[in-house]
Amino acid sequence: MTFRVLDPTTEKAPPAGRLAPRLDTLEGKTIGFISNGKEGTKGFFKHLDQMLREEYGVARVVSRTKSNYSAPADKHIVDEIKGWDAVVSGLGD
């Protein structure tokens, strides 16, 4: 007996989520950090900030923290992204 059965998944890729063009260099760039605010993010971003400036010549680092670590970034943070060259979004778990 043959069963004709249906695909239970959405099948299509989600509409959002395309990767932005990669940067050729980090030198002189503005990098934004979006932290989820958990304890583990503090040391991570502090170290990354120092590394980006000292080793990669990043001009400016902007740090922002979400108001709810389980929800998407707040609108005012998302609005700022267009002023940055790249974003690092970090989890603290």
Partner: protein, 351 residues
Amino acid sequence: MQLASRVYDADSISAVQELYHSSGWTDGLPIVPPTADAVEACLDWAMMPPDQLIGIEPVRGLAITAEKLAINAVMAGCLPMHFPVVVTAWMAMMQDEFLMHGATASTGGCAVLVVLNGPIRLELGASGTFNALGNSDRATAVIGRAVRLCLINLMDVRPGVIDRSTLGHPGKFSYCLAEDEEDSSWLPLAEQRGVPKGASSVTVMAAGAPRQLMNEWTTRPEEILETFAAEMRANLRHYSIHPGNYALIIPKQLREHLQAAGWTKTDIAQFIHERARIHRREWAEVGKGAVVRDRGDSVYPAMESPDQLLVVAAGGPAGGFGAVIPPWLGNKSHAVTLPLGVCIDCEPPKK
């Protein structure tokens, strides 16, 4: 009826099972083959065309259609009559305040608790008595399972993919119960939360595992409820200090003492709100002294207000047991109650 989903041919029932398991489309248990006939029967029952948009998942922008919910409902073992409940549960989960992505992706590992109220319980044979939080009946088993299979297949909430749970809990297979409205003088949960009397409804809550308690040695409401409050204090100490929706499941034996003394659900919620709170310094007693800091005297209630307590009459007739179901992470997610859709003069969709 024109279904849009991709079709697979399988030579045997075993081949169907292997196809679905190997594709990562199951919860590890066997599924019912979702054939076009079975899926169309669900859609017919709900009078929904396959492409009816049930909602857009808010974080990733995924469109959730009736057809895809029906496929997963059939896989879970749902009959057509169960399907409208699955649809309503999903509509509730997609409300912003439920924070579905966060609740289902979190390391915290909660499950979606589904509570049924109103006449639909009787139509489906959903039982709120013996084994209410376990395998009590077919309807609650398959509805709860359908909610999980939809999460797995429509949002990629698979372990290690979107589902990042450290532990999870057994309610992630199925976590649905019906309130025992016939054997209670209390307002049903849905009515307490604003649904008109007599309407069928679904309440969803991002919920941890049940914490069972027992107090068979008193008939005084204050003493019975102190045991519930103590269990909530334990949760505040051992798990999370965030206030939010807690559910109390109160079976008949304890319920009768409370009702005989004239206590309503509102009275219970007010008492619990006063008693279920701790000082931050208590964290030092359970190994969490490092986060007390200089705020030891701060008081943390389990709920911001009494109306955050969901009191549900359910459980077998004997035994002085009860259960506290804690929130995933306090107010990050709010419980949502929605009535099942009522359609006046609806016409079935054209075939």
